[in-house]
């Protein structure tokens, strides 16, 4: 079973590569509109040697991690509060829904006006894109905790802080982790889009910059890096679902 999980994806990737090379070989597209795998490989080598690809990857990752953790740090407590306090929910839910429906990219001009071009603007945009889904999902998770858990907590003398850390938090963990996986993917999408406009480095900028530099081979290089890092991010977050005390949320 295990070898299949490794070999089959490689076969598919190889087939895709063959299709790519095949289409290129027909010459239906101009080289600059459809770079060959070889040109991309050379571009990859060039970018690796110059260290730009690594730098851009680190830059984008840094922004995503900062913006994402900031959003989690504010969003999960916020969602807990909204989930537990009805008045807060009534007061804030409409405005949260309002902001949630704004594409973070619409904030781009303000991000640049307020924070300039660089890390802060991208982190701000990632925060905006991830914060609202996390708040809403945490809130829903809290609201959906079966009442029986709180009855049991009462019966066994768990109150206040103990109730929060030993009942509420573990009860919402599986759903929160699922949200983290989804929103991390979102953050990665947003950082690339944000850097395309408000960046001077990062993988999104590399995409835009290769485009400005008329280098489609480097563009594909950046795209491949973006896709691969996206997979790595998800794989890392999947590890969270393997924590024994949250397995119940996925196994049943």
């Amino acid at each position: 079973m295990k070898w299949k999980a490794i070999v089959l994806p490689i076969v598919v990737a190889a087939a895709l590569l063959a299709v790519w090379a095949g289409v290129w070989a027909t010459g239906a597209f101009h080289e600059s509109a459809f770079p060959s795998p070889l040109a991309v490989a050379r571009g990859f080598g060039e970018e690796m040697r110059s260290g730009r690809l690594l730098n851009d990857s680190i830059t984008s990752l840094f922004r995503v991690v900062c913006g994402f953790l900031l959003a989690v740090g504010v969003g999960v407590p916020g969602g807990l509060w909204l989930g537990q306090v009805l008045a807060a929910r009534l007061a804030f839910l409409p405005i949260i829904n309002f902001f949630r429906n704004l594409s973070p990219l619409a904030w781009m001009p303000f991000a640049i006006l307020w924070f300039g071009v660089g890390d802060a603007a991208s982190i701000f945009l990632i925060f905006l894109s991830v914060f609202f889904p996390i708040v809403l999902s945490t809130m829903a998770a809290v609201a959906n905790i079966p009442a029986v858990y709180f009855r049991v907590a009462e019966d066994y003398g768990l109150h206040g802080r103990e109730r929060l850390t030993q009942v509420t938090l573990p009860a919402i963990m599986p759903q929160v982790i699922t949200t983290l996986r989804v929103t991390a993917g979102l953050a990665w999408l947003v950082v690339v889009a944000a850097e395309m406009i408000a960046g001077r480095d990062g993988l999104g900028f590399a995409v835009m910059d290769s485009r400005n530099g008329l280098r489609t081979d480097l563009l594909v290089t950046a795209m491949i890096a973006i896709g691969l890092i996206g997979i790595v991010i998800d794989r890392v977050l999947v590890q969270l679902t393997k924590i024994p005390s949250v397995r119940w949320g996925y196994d049943r």
Binding site: F62, V65, L113, I197, N212, G213, L214
Partner: protein, 338 residues
């Protein structure tokens, strides 16, 4: 059990931020340049187009100079440059002339000190079209970088001269980098843009030159050097150094075209051969001399911008243009490549 796992995850997240932050900012590299703090430094915005070539050349020239260090800051589009200026994070940049006028109209205190170049824009048509002038492009799709561009203004004048009405050609706005590809795939039939985005199509043989800008409007201006009044007020000497640096870089590029391509290509992150082609085929495709803006030509752009509806009301050109920083004698910068 739950708590210890949470502590581990939090520690892991903190460690990740620290490691990425260190890799990102490379604190060990800062100490390599103790001289850096002693010199004044200024960021100058530019786009990777040959119209802005003197910006990276000036950056290159002042890497080790005793005077101000000019750091070229590459952008990918004009809106971001404008937002950076409005946000107070950029005080000097290259930009298209009508956009500078638009900023002035909006009350953003900027001045035009100098020109970036002359000529250097090209109208390309699909190589399989027999078009000889704009009349042959009636009913065709024509791409322009932006309505604020000088290309747009000049083209309107040319259409008027040739008796083509504005609605007879199908205009689309398109980011310059996408134009060569769009031409090759026949999504558009012609475009007018700053180099090297025109030369790219020529090198690909998907397009041919219909007009060089100099054929339509000799000594065509598209981009100008813009700085904020704040910078002029607070650091007039730095501004003087900047204008001189750009003038001398231009003079050098004019006589060292191959070297200039070599210097600029990494800043543009473009293929050196494309930049070299623009600078040499023919050599007067773009010029970096005579960069002092005259009242007459700036007024002409102003009038055309008003007519095209880019500006809503006339602006005082005396407030916009300041020639006092242009050095009386311009000699070529001393730049050694390698």
């Amino acid at each position: 059990m739950f708590r210890s796992t949470a502590v581990k995850i939090l520690a892991g997240a903190a460690l990740l931020v620290i490691v990425l932050g260190v890799l990102r900012y490379k604190p060990w590299q800062r100490r390599d340049q103790p001289m850096e703090a002693a010199r004044a430094s200024l960021n100058v915005g530019f786009l990777p187009v040959t119209c802005h070539l003197t910006c990276p050349v000036t950056d290159f020239a002042t890497r080790t100079s005793a005077t101000t260090r000019f750091e070229s800051q590459r952008f990918t589009d004009f809106p971001t440059i404008v937002e950076s200026i409005k946000g107070g994070r950029l005080e000097a940049t290259f930009m298209i002339a009508p956009l500078a006028m638009k900023l002035r109209e909006q009350g953003v205190p900027v001045k035009i000190l100098y020109l970036g170049h002359r000529d250097g824009s090209t109208i390309m048509v699909r190589s399989d079209l027999p078009a000889k002038d704009l009349r042959d492009l009636r009913g065709r799709v024509f791409a322009l970088p932006s309505k604020y561009s000088n290309q747009n203004l000049v083209l309107r004048k040319l259409m008027e001269d040739q008796g083509v009405k504005p609605d007879e050609i199908n205009f689309v706005e398109m980011p310059p980098p996408d134009m060569p590809g769009a031409l090759a795939s026949r999504a558009i039939d012609a475009y007018f843009v700053g180099e090297p985005h025109a030369a790219k199509a020529e090198l690909d043989r998907s397009g041919r030159v219909l007009y060089h800008a100099k054929d339509i409007w000799p000594q065509f201006i598209s981009c100008v050097l813009v700085v904020t009044e704040n910078l002029i007020r607070e650091q007039p000497e730095v501004v003087r150094d900047l204008v001189r640096g750009i003038a001398e870089s231009g003079e050098w590029a004019e006589s060292h075209r191959l070297d200039a391509a070599k210097v600029a290509a990494p800043y543009f992150r473009q293929d050196e051969s494309v930049v070299r082609y623009v600078l040499t085929q023919p050599p007067d495709r773009v010029s970096y001399r005579m960069l002092e803006p005259t009242d007459a030509e700036m007024e002409q752009i102003h009038r055309m911008a008003l007519k095209a509806g880019i500006l809503e009301r006339p602006i005082d050109m005396k407030d916009l243009i300041d020639r006092s920083f242009i050095p009386p004698h311009i000699r070529a910068a001393e730049i050694s490549v390698n």
